[in-house]
Every structure is written in C-alpha cells, then in structure tokens.
Point group: C2
Chain length 272, copies 2
C-alpha cells in the first residue's frame, strides 16, 4: 500500500480512533509533486508546515525522518506525495494536550493528467475571514469541500472563491494570478486562503503585486492563471461567461521557466 | 475498549487512512449525556445531526442502528457518549465522492465532575462568519482548539468567543444566555456558533429572545449561564474582572427544572 503512518518516530499501522485530526481537523498537510524519487520543493513545503505548526502550537516530527520516508515512498519514481500531520491522540475537549506525539502520514498518488487550460466558475461558497488561520494549509477544509461540490455539479475544472466581502481570493485548490495593465497581481491572504508554494515561486518570477482583487478585475484581466505545487501553472480558458481562448504568451513563458527550474513540471518528463 | 467503529452497516476495527473526516474535517459529531443506559435527548441530537448531514450532503447511517449501538455501549450505565460521523474514505481532492459508505464511531467517556459555577475569560480567537456552516456541529473546530488553548493558559473553566464584528456568540464548548431587564437572551447563530441541544431546551423554557449581544451587554447582565447537553446549565461566576458571586435564583430554578425534565442532569442521580 502506498501509505505509511507514524506516531512520533514509530511506524504504526492505523489511525488512532481518538486522533484530534479526525475529531477537530486539528491537522496540517502538504501536497507535493515527486520527481525521480525526490520532492524538488521539499524545503518550501517544510517552511510552510513549520509556520502552520507554530500557529497551532503543534509539535513537528523529525525533519530528516520525514524527508527520508517521503523519498522511500517515492522509490525513485514520480507521483503526488501527501503529508498529513495531526496533533495526535487526545482527550475529549478542545484544549489540546501538549504531550502527545504527533501523528503523521505519507501517501503516494498518481500524477494528475496535464491539461492545457481550465474552465472555471465563481463558487457561491465564500471563504470566512479568520486571520489566525489564514495562509496555512490546515485540516479545516469544509469550505473547499462545499465549493468543490459546486465545481463538480457545474462540470468544470475549478472554482474561484471570494471572501465575505466579495473579493476574489483563490480557487478551491490553487492560487490565482491575473495580468492587467502589464502587471501580474495575486490576492492578499491575510484573512483567508492558503499561501501556496507555487504562488510563492510565481510571485518572485513575475515580480507580481499582492493586491485586493474584485471579481470584475479578474473577469476583465488580460490573462488569468491558477497554480499549485502539484499541477504547476494552469491557464484559465473560461470563467463563467468570460473566455480567454488563447493562452497568453506570458503564461506560456512562465510555464517554460517552471519546466526549466523544476523538470518535474515539464510534461515531457512525466514518465521518468 | 469503549469505542465502536462502523463503515455503513459493518463493524470495523480501524479508521481508514483516507477518511475524509481526517483529511478535511468533513465530519459531524454529537456529544451526549447517557443516563441509565439511555440518551434522553437522542432525538434532539439526531435532528441536529440530520440538519448537518443535509447541509454537507453527507449520507447518514441507519438511525435505528445508531441508537441501538449507542445504548449497547452505555450498557445500562451513565457517561458521555460521543458520536462522530464522517464522509468516509475518498479520493484525494476536495469534491466529495457520493458513493462511499459513511464512517461512524461511538465512544463512551466518564461524566465530567459537576461544578457549582464557572470562571471564564474573553478569548482573543474570533469565530469566523460562515453562514453555510453556522449552527452545525461539524468537524472543523480549529477556532475552538485555539480558544481552548487560551482558556487553559488562563487557568479558567471556559472562554467566551466573539465574531469578527465583536459580538458575543458562545463559549468554546457551550452556548451563552444572559439575563437583563427581566428577559433572557442568547446570541443569534446565523453566521457562526453551534446551535446546541441544551440551548434549544433553555430557549423554550425561558421564552428567551435571540439577539445580537455585545460584550458590554454580557458584562452588565444580572446573570449569565453557559449550557451544553453534557454538563447542563452552568452559572458563570466570573468573567474577566466582572463577578457574579451568587448564583441567580432564576438559574437555580432552571437547573431544578432541568433535573425534573431529565433526571440525568440531577447531580444526585449521577451514580445510577
């Protein structure tokens, strides 16, 4: 089976019934792209995981052990690698015990098929404002589950989510970039949203601005793409009634730069 | 072990590693007080569970089977009974599969010690506004976990939580009622908070108003109590700098009415 579970340093064979990730979503996760037995952006994922663990005052497993187990699971190949980390077992009651060893789990999944461009909708489900959790990839994901159901019902590839004030924040499982007036912009994530590893890379490559984005700004943009650390740079072809029939050359250029920086994102390399 | 796990109709001996309750907090739960082998408010808990399942489009296990298993676990005795229900196993990705059988779990725990009155604080962690999830007892509870850590650090019994606009909503694990101008009031829960089974009972008994409550309204109230379906009616003795040294006679009266209506909440009955 392509999954390994641990409690602290020890390999275990099941999730504990009283796991606080299961009870309360008291967990963090990272979804990573593995390539030739390695996770090229391992360090960036670990930086975000550590930020989440600090915000939730959760203990972290040994960093070298996590990486060693991740690479063992990849076994020289490619795939999506998911790392889940929970508070571990605990009493009934919200206040966490500080002494439980963390539960963590690695699972390996097939790479998603590459696509040329995505069709998207605006989801009705909004992202609630919670500054203490904003930016983190934590396990409280009911908003994304509800929005994901909207996406599936609409028969499209992704859905853009707004905050309570109506500003565009992100897709259900990807960050959002738009090109307007010759500048790339991506939404502020102080109140909600996940600060993605690929967003971080694209911010630097594009010298993009972090801005408040209205839905109108997205719909009137010259180009729109979504991104995440598994699927790379994903041009948006359609958003509701609005269409961008041609992938913008600046998006093609960014994809090429990504494939050079990280060969794991080069579609021609996928089988290796 | 005082726990039983099921996948649909079948008894299972472990939580699946790909359970969506574990991955995303895609779950619902009920925490109930068992008395003499029964859960007196079973039906009220099931009404709320059903409301949650509808909101999350989650399938429910057979109702008679859940009750039968709950009573088997109580084995004629008293205790806290926790029912957790998740979406079950699933693919990676937010959109839920519709065909997985639900995972559910019953666990029995000792009754908490009864207390005469509680000391509370105002928590800094706010409750985010999410109308699609408000009122439900779902498994996305990181806000309560963060607030619970504040309560523990302060060395008090409970913490009151406000929404993003600063209005008082609830305690971390209980609903809130205040007495002012001869009327009982409890906060509106359209945007956040859990609509408790005991809140429902107290609303009817007290002919209380559902209102927007400022922290000042709470602090200047003639009496304040918290309530939940495990611990009953809990007078607040202290809230930060404000104190109510004597339990208000109307709270004592409500406690007596509860003990008559549900002998499981009569402290003198606890051992039976």
């Amino acid at each position: 089976m392509n999954v390994r579970m641990f409690l602290g340093d020890a390999l275990v064979d099941a999730v504990a019934w009283d796991d606080r990730g299961l009870a309360y979503g008291e967990s963090l996760f990272e979804t990573m792209r593995g390539h030739r037995g390695r996770v090229p952006w391992w360090m960036a994922h670990m930086v975000r995981l550590r930020r989440g663990a600090e915000a939730l005052a959760m203990p972290l497993p040994d960093a070298a052990r996590m990486q060693q187990e991740a690479e063992a699971l990849l076994d020289g190949g490619v795939g999506v690698l998911k790392l889940q980390l929970t508070r571990g077992g605990g009493m009934r009651g919200y206040a966490p015990a500080s002494d439980a060893p963390p539960f963590w789990m690695l699972s390996r999944h097939p790479l998603p098929a590459s696509v040329d461009a995505l069709d998207a909708i605006w989801c009705e489900t909004r992202l609630a404002a919670q500054p203490r959790l904003a930016g983190l990839k934590h396990g409280n994901r009911l908003e994304q589950v509800l929005a994901g159901a909207e996406v599936r019902a609409a028969g499209v590839d992704e859905g853009l989510m707004r905050d309570g004030e109506g500003h565009a924040i992100a897709a259900t499982a990807a960050n959002l970039f738009i090109l307007a007036d010759g500048r790339w912009r991506t939404p502020r994530l102080q109140s909600c949203g996940v600060a993605g590893v690929m967003r971080e890379w694209a911010l630097g490559e594009l010298e993009a601005d972090i801005a408040t984005l209205t839905p109108e700004a997205v719909e009137t943009a010259d180009a729109v793409f979504l991104c995440n650390a598994v699927r790379g740079i994903l041009p948006v072809r359609r958003l509701g009634a609005k269409a961008w029939p041609q992938v913008h050359p600046e998006i093609r250029d960014l994809q090429a730069r990504l494939a050079r920086a990280q060969p794991g994102f080069d579609p021609s390399q996928e089988a290796s």
